[in-house]
């Protein structure tokens, strides 16, 4: 196991800190920039030696750039499968970066607030994450990091199309703005479909917990802009942060108060069952755990659960993910043995003051 990754495990990481604004509904905010170097082919056409040279160049620039916070660098080829999975679960790298092959790496800030993937779909994928709704803070830092890197790396850029990316869907700003939302009440009131329709109308993409191609488990939805060309970064941010998100947050909060006033029994039943599941299950899958944690999170956010806090829920949330759980166990377990171990682990965390 990589010692740098080991150091991260004691904490929840930035995206699960639950300390930011609007964290009852907005789990985390993220701004991602895609960049490519002008003098190299994109990854699809980069041969072995070009890949290695790209990696070397980007790594060198990364390590010498002025950074707003301390960070370390990880060579993906020297990182084992479980560590890669851990980084996916902590939203530091994409699934694609974890499962890919060839020379590639990632720079991660010690507090996990930023990570910069080298040789993913584009040469550089820079992301800044903050807890809660803090999109402008994310953009400010992403912009700073991008400028620091751009001082010495010649980016592929055209006056007409802006930053040139391997996939034309990222063209222009190369910016993807996204938020992880927790929308359990909209699900319970049956209004979640309306959100999807509205999102589509507003040219937004809705994804699951771990981004592209993943399902929405436990009422967590990642919402992001689909178009990157034709509007400035500030315009994209303004629409997202000032128009779209306030509406989504208001919709979820109003669904919560409807439940509270009109169907309090149903609400407490859902929350109570989640508490029961997590405190009493003897065999627990990671999906079941997420499902329970979703309703538990709702209960804590609404002040309907005693003796449990958001950090505890986030802790369980993260540490029951397959990669993290395997590290906790220290050995690979399969099937029921694994489920039993997870159940007992969650039971411990759910019991106040270890009693």
């Amino acid at each position: 196991m990589n010692p740098q990754i080991q150091k991260l495990l004691g904490k929840n990481g930035e995206w699960l800190a639950s300390t930011g604004p609007e964290s009852a509904v907005v789990v985390s905010s993220r701004v991602r920039l895609a960049r490519n170097l002008a003098d190299f082919p994109f990854m699809t056409k980069a041969g072995r030696s070009q890949r290695a040279e790209l990696h070397r160049l980007c790594r060198e620039q990364l390590l010498s750039m002025p950074s707003p916070r301390p960070f370390f660098y990880i060579d993906m080829e020297k990182t084992d499968q479980v560590d890669r999975q851990l980084m996916v679960e902590r939203h530091l790298i994409s699934k694609q970066h974890a499962s890919g092959d060839g020379s590639r790496g990632v720079a991660v800030s010690d507090d996990e607030a930023f990570s910069i993937m080298v040789n993913e779909e584009d040469h550089i994928r820079l992301q800044v994450i903050r807890s809660g709704l803090q999109l402008r803070e994310c953009w400010r830092e992403a912009d700073t990091l991008d400028n620091a890197l751009g001082q010495h790396l010649r980016y592929a850029f055209s006056d007409r199309f802006g930053f040139l990316t391997a996939c034309p869907t990222n063209l222009g700003t190369g910016m993807r703005v996204s938020v992880m939302l927790h929308l359990p009440a909209l699900k319970l009131t049956g209004e979640i479909e309306k959100v999807f329709v509205a999102a589509k109308d507003m040219h937004l993409a809705v994804r699951g917990l771990f981004g592209e191609g993943t399902e929405a488990i436990g009422d967590f939805y990642q919402i992001s802009n689909q178009t990157t060309l034709g509007r400035s970064e500030e315009e994209i941010l303004a629409e997202f942060a000032d128009v779209i998100l306030p509406r989504l947050i208001a919709a979820e909060l109003s669904a919560r108060s409807v439940l509270e006033q009109e169907r309090p029994l149903m609400l407490d039943d859902k929350i109570g069952r989640a508490v029961g599941l997590l405190r009493n299950a003897r065999l627990l899958s990671s999906e079941e755990a997420l499902f329970g944690l979703s309703h538990l999170r709702l209960g804590v956010a609404m002040g309907r659960v005693a003796n449990l806090t958001m950090p505890t829920i986030n802790r369980i949330f993260l540490t029951t993910q397959p990669g993290h759980f395997q590290r906790t166990l220290g050995q690979p377990l399969d099937g029921d043995a694994r489920k039993a171990a997870r159940a007992s682990y969650v039971r411990q965390l759910m019991t106040p003051s270890g009693g």
Partner: protein
Amino acid sequence: MKCDRCNKPATIHFTEVRDGKSLELHLCGECAAESGYVQQAHLTMNEMLNEFVKAKTGMSNRDALVCPDCGMKWQEFKDTGLLGCPKDYAVFSDQLRGVIENAQHGATHHTGKTPAAAVAPEDSVKLRQAELSRLKKDLTKALERESYEVAATLRDQIKTLEAALPPGR
């Protein structure tokens, strides 16, 4: 004149600039199509080749286009959705127009930030000016929205940028 690669008569003549050196090329239609120089040839040559390639392989010229730098073929892009190098945006510009407009909901031009540095000095002035006009536009919008905190940050950025521009512009 004979083709540089085989002994058939050369029908396509052009100059290629690579690594700062210019190189005269004389190719027959077949070798030109094969080596991916098609899109660099003259338009009328392109049309001629279009017919040639169609007759020869049954493909349209569009599918036969190849980037001379990275070897990307249009068909390959259609299969994967990923381009091979920055130059592909120029090589496949006709075919990409529709793809980009579709993916970007009709947008055709970049209006966001420009790279920080590492560009030629004359470009750098141009880029800074573009950046300046973008920031000013954003500032107007921020004021309209009454986002004063954002406006203040933008004002600072404008000041810094204006100070960096050569005087008298």
